[in-house]
């Protein structure tokens, strides 16, 4: 009995005096700088009712700083700006100067804008690293839009970290500062209609009795609620996959206030070559979306890896969509990897989509936004990455760990096409 008690006491002492080694979740401060240059063009601008230039360029720069607060906790600050110039949105006010034409850019204030975002997130991992909690808060702003988001997630690993399940939720509270097409503003509350100087100083051709259907939106809020579930599994020492299921409910002003619609049953009015709006798009004030996706990655050998992705999407506006992509990273040396990729996307049209002049003034909802039309798209990409695991090159106390450069060309089976160049630089603090 005494021996047993001694052994038990010794084992407890021994346990108490044994320090369990716990690897830090993040060893040191990491800094990512991400940048991209995006350009697009097409002939179906939503701002001008489904006809007109979609030309747009956008430049972004983002810093992502991850700071280990202790062995278990990581704080991440993500701050970025995005500056765009858009021939399409410049035609919110096409009568500023120069010829008014949906296929030509205007010089007004709506031709460019700056979007800024700050997101802070905090994650905590349990001692055995099998439980991870995280929370985040984000704020983003641009001239006509403001968004605040909060979110959280919980991840559980088990089966010797071969299996992972997760749940996440996000809420975004957004507010529009609605901007309407120039020619509609005189028909809003307190407006003077055709007595406005826009119409007295310019000549209306076609239907000179211009009488659009227009009332300003009373509620400019838009809320989004999302709930997501994730499951990932190591299937083999060279194969792993994951499944994701997201539900999104949006409520509020889901129409874009400056997107024009032209009715087929209303005579057309023009100033110069620009057709005056019959209305702005009207869409329901709620939308429910479901997306289910899966990834399967296969490490073929030291040179080739295959990364695949598939997603099915459905929403209650009548859109269904399939997305499939494949990327084959090719390690050509221990420092350089190539990233050829292909992505296919298609979608059906929203119930409320009508091409130029095909909506009727008697319809309840309508839009000529070709992003809500039926189409399919192919995207080809190529990238190269440089990795130095020793991070020898330095800027101040930051060692350069990797550089990623990628280019993607995206083409719809309509007139729309876009391209994007992205760059990512990863630094670790000494």
């Amino acid at each position: 009995m005494c021996v047993f008690a001694f052994a038990k006491a010794y084992s407890q002492t021994s346990q108490d005096s044994t320090k369990v080694y716990k690897k830090r979740v993040l060893e040191t401060v990491e800094v990512d700088f991400l940048s991209s240059y995006y350009s697009q063009d097409g002939d179906n601008a939503a701002v001008s009712g489904g006809i007109g230039t979609e030309e747009l360029t956008d430049v972004t720069g983002t810093f992502v700083v991850s700071i280990p607060l202790n062995d278990d906790d990581v704080l991440t600050i993500d701050a970025g700006v995005s500056a765009y110039t858009s021939a399409s949105s410049s035609n919110v006010g096409p009568f500023d100067d120069g010829p008014a034409d949906p296929f030509q850019a205007s010089s007004g204030a709506s031709s460019s804008d700056l979007w800024a975002n700050v997101t802070g997130s905090y994650s905590h991992s349990s001692d055995d690293r099998n439980d991870i909690w995280s929370a985040k808060l984000s704020v983003s702003t641009e001239y006509d839009y403001f968004s605040v988001g909060v979110g959280g997630s919980y991840t559980k690993l088990f089966n010797e970290k071969n299996t992972e399940v997760s749940v996440n939720g996000n809420v975004y509270i957004d507010t529009w500062n609605a901007i309407y097409p120039t020619e509609l503003r005189p028909f809003g509350e307190g407006g003077n209609g055709l007595s406005n100087r826009l119409f007295t100083q310019n000549t209306i051709t076609g239907n000179t009795n211009y009488a659009p259907i227009f009332t300003e939106f009373a509620d400019e809020g838009r809320n989004s609620y999302s709930l997501g579930f994730g499951f990932s599994q190591i299937l083999h020492k060279n194969v792993q996959g994951s499944l994701a299921l997201d539900f999104v409910q949006q409520q509020g002003l889901l129409s874009t206030p400056f997107q024009r619609v032209y009715f087929g049953d209303v005579a057309d009015s023009f100033i110069e070559n620009f057709q005056l709006a019959d209305a702005i798009e009207r869409l329901p004030d709620s939308r429910f979306k479901v997306a289910a996706g899966g990834r399967l990655n296969w490490y073929l050998n030291e040179t080739f890896t295959v990364r695949t992705f598939y997603r099915y999407y459905y929403d209650d506006w009548g859109i269904t969509s399939h997305t499939a992509s494949i990327e084959v990273p090719i390690k050509i040396t221990d420092k350089f990897t190539l990233y050829p990729s292909y992505r296919f996307y298609n979608q059906t049209a929203a119930d409320y989509f009508r091409p130029y002049e095909e909506a009727l003034s008697t319809d309840e909802f309508y839009t000529s936004d070709y992003d809500l039309s039926e189409y399919s798209a192919n995207q080809f990409g190529f990238g190269v990455s440089y990795t130095d695991i020793f991070a020898k090159a330095h800027i101040w106390k930051l060692g350069l760990k990797s550089i990623d450069l990628k280019f993607y060309q995206y083409d719809r089976d309509t007139t729309f096409s876009s391209s994007i160049i992205t760059a990512g630089f990863k630094f670790v603090m000494d």
Partner: protein
Amino acid sequence: MMKKIIMLTMITCLFSSCVVVKEYEKVNINDPDMALADKKCDRNVTTAHSYREAAVGANGGKTGGGCGCN
């Protein structure tokens, strides 16, 4: 659709019960190119897709916030 997702999840769970890859066998699984997420430098590509395409979600990208209207 929902039935298919549940079935697929259950089948994957069944597989998981008979395959356990030990930590020392995860060298290839831990390769950065095997990550079950897009690379950080692809984030702006995903954002551009979410602006121009109707479908969002199930890919690690944003599912809300912002107008995506330009």
